[in-house]
């Protein structure tokens, strides 16, 4: 009894039957089949939305055609080059001891700039910790990221002013916060307005990784969003790795298929194609703004650097893989396209390089100039209303510190 059609994995054809299980009918995929399924679309294919080939050739897509001016394209190129440069400087500053850690964006520029440029000012974005490209699009200057990695603050921008939540390190947490925010947008009447008011519609986009999809909070975010029709777009950057763990440690099937279980659309986009990322993001955000949220986007991309500057990726992945992905470099892809289609000339590219140099200098200088936070900062803003306990600890501590100054001795220990 019970034939193949009870077998729900959509990639069943790729899996076939497992030979070793005699009475089996539901064909649990082997590890190899899982990996093949997870990677299936990396070279394109029906399920992957792509508008620029790795060779920089513009292709059409039946559902996601998009009209982008040469200026917009150049703008996105500039975005990618500049944020990549800041990212590389971040790495370098860490190596020089200026930063405690840096979380590289390298390779994910297209996914982030495409999504970030699809957001409108009134929209809200909830990042994880690698979203330097998204931050850039929200108007958060790369220098504003430095405090987190230098250890002077936990994020220096104003989420309300910028429309960008603080970086969130506890994996998955932000998916629920974003869903709640999106529920608020809906309760505020900022969703599904038509005619004149349509331009006031809002949506929320939340960023997380392939590893994050395993967390309960991501699930609960999707349940909540679907039950309240929240205008939230779940943007999963599948960069193939959660630190040292490949995607098959988190799923048997491509991650965009998670949406099926909740009854909302899931779609996979070539995350190294900035145009496709923007097209799919715009569509999804529009859907959400019109009241058809939530939606899930899986941006299929690659973390070209280590997880962080503390990580040694050579311990768990092959150089081959990196080399293969280099051929799909998102920045290079757009550069070739711009030149091939004569949408930009060398002068433009040079000018962007110059801007990048300038940004790098400014970024580095900003880092060197960053003041040390004063000790009283430890105690500030713990509560909106000052806590007497914290205030007393602060006063005691500052007095204790001033004791060193008074006594004129340094911090060498002694029983005074």
């Amino acid at each position: 009894m019970s034939p193949e059609h009870w077998t729900r994995p959509s990639r069943a054809d790729a899996h076939g039957h497992a030979d070793t299980a005699p009475a089996a009918t539901s064909a649990t995929p082997t590890r190899e089949q899982v990996i093949a399924g997870l990677r299936a679309t990396s070279e394109g294919g029906a399920d992957l939305v792509q508008l620029l080939t790795p060779e920089g050739q513009r292709v059409t897509h039946p559902d996601f055609d998009i009209d982008v001016s040469a200026e917009q394209l150049r703008g996105m190129y500039r975005d990618m080059v500049l944020i990549r440069r800041a990212d590389r400087e971040g790495n370098a500053l860490q190596r020089q001891g200026q930063l405690g850690i840096w979380v590289p964006l390298l390779g994910q520029e297209a996914a982030q700039i495409g999504a970030g440029r699809a957001l409108r000012p009134q929209d809200m974005a909830f990042p994880s910790y690698r979203e330097h490209g998204v931050a850039w699009c929200r108007g958060v200057d790369p220098t504003e990221l430095l405090g987190i990695f230098r250890g002077t603050d936990h994020g220096s921008w104003d989420p309300h002013e910028t429309g960008l939540g603080l970086y969130t390190i506890v994996i998955g947490n932000q998916c629920l916060n974003a869903t709640g925010y999106a529920m608020g947008q809906k309760f505020d009447g900022k969703v599904g307005n038509s005619d004149g008011d349509a331009s006031e519609n809002e949506a929320t986009m939340v960023f997380f990784g392939d590893g994050a999809t395993s967390q309960g909070d991501v699930h609960e975010g999707m349940v909540w969003a679907s039950v309240y029709d929240a205008p939230v777009v779940f943007f999963c950057q599948n960069n193939q790795w959660a630190i040292s763990e490949p995607t098959e440690r988190q799923s048997r099937v491509p991650l965009y298929e998670r949406a099926r279980g909740y009854g909302f659309p899931g779609i996979r986009v070539d995350g190294n194609d900035v145009l496709a990322s923007m097209a799919v993001s715009q569509w999804a955000l529009d859907e959400a703004r019109h009241g058809n949220g939530p939606l899930l986007i899986e941006a299929f991309t690659y973390r070209m650097d280590a997880h962080t500057t503390s990580d040694d990726a050579t311990r768990y992945r092959m150089d081959d893989e990196l080399q293969a992905w280099k051929l799909k470099d998102p920045v290079e892809r757009l550069r070739v396209h711009l030149l091939r289609e004569e949408l930009a000339d060398q002068d433009f590219l040079d000018e962007v390089e110059r801007e990048a140099d300038e940004l790098a200098t400014r970024f580095r200088q900003f880092c060197f100039d960053m003041p040390e936070p004063p000790p009283e900062r430890i105690f500030s803003a713990v509560y909106a209303e000052e806590s007497p306990v914290v205030a007393a600890q602060r006063d005691d501590y500052l007095q204790y510190l001033s004791g060193f100054a008074d006594a004129g001795h340094d911090t060498e220990g002694s029983v005074r």
Binding site: N173, L176, G184, W224, V227, V382, E385, S387, P388, V389
Partner: protein, 339 residues
Amino acid sequence: MAAPTVESTGSETTRTQTITIAKGLNMAMRAAMERDPRVMVMGEDIGRLGGVFRVTDGLQKDFGEHRVLDTPLAESGIVGTAIGLAMRGYRPVCEIQFDGFIFPGFDQIVSQLSKMHYRSQGRVKVPVVIRVPFGGGIGAVEHHSESPESLFAHVAGLKVVSCSNPVDAYWMLQQAIDSDDPVLFFEPKRRYWEKAELDPTTPPLSLGSSAVMRPGTTATLATYGPMVKTCLDAANAAEEDGHELEVVDLRSLSPLDLEPVADSVRRTGRLVVVSESPAESSITSEVATRIQQECFYSLEAPVLRVNGFDTPYPPSRLEEGYLPDLDRVLDAVDRSLTY
């Protein structure tokens, strides 16, 4: 986003009336929702049903499904979306159905709710109230009688409070909702039906202060939530033996307001701290520690504690033994007096 001052509005809240704790909480939410359209209530079964304890009874009917949300069954979801709603300008009041079910929401409380204001350097306020019916004594099954408040008192960035009577229930919940800080609001579920007179024109104490509930000279009892009644009963019983016990209701569990306790101990020289929760690394430890520091020269006996035992909450037929009662409180007073 400054907190509006608590004011009496509507006819219901200006005349003196007899109310229960449950009613006081219900009135408080109603008043807050009438005053501020950004206040909303969310949780499991709190809408149509009015909550398993009926504390939110009638709110959905009167304020609608968008302000009183019957949520999916997941506590991390409740807290996590409440944080997002608060960032959007709402003031969510979440109900956790029972004490033992707050743990799936623990991560969002500790990692996001408690830290958001600090990490954003005050730019992002998250005025979320989490109501938790807590404590034992109702003959319930597992996970329905716990006292997890100490876990939250240990977490910086949260206000933790507990009301012990209807009048405090009414005022403290409104103050919690008006607070721009996240507040864990512990409700003594076995006292939900205790009654008292509420005169809404009498101005309330501030949310952060403890209160002397009964003056005394022999020894001091410091406690909160459901144990306040137990301690007052103990004080009544002790009176017959000529002992005058001073009873302090801590009310705010974090930050603690220990000045009234220290004042009292300076006069009585003896302190017993009482709570249903296990003793280890708890609020009673904190009170004892700070009072032995503050009142070192006044104490005539060590600070003693009466707590639930350091075991999981037992099956309910055993809870009478587990929970501090009048006798165990008086036994501790006795022991204190022997020093």
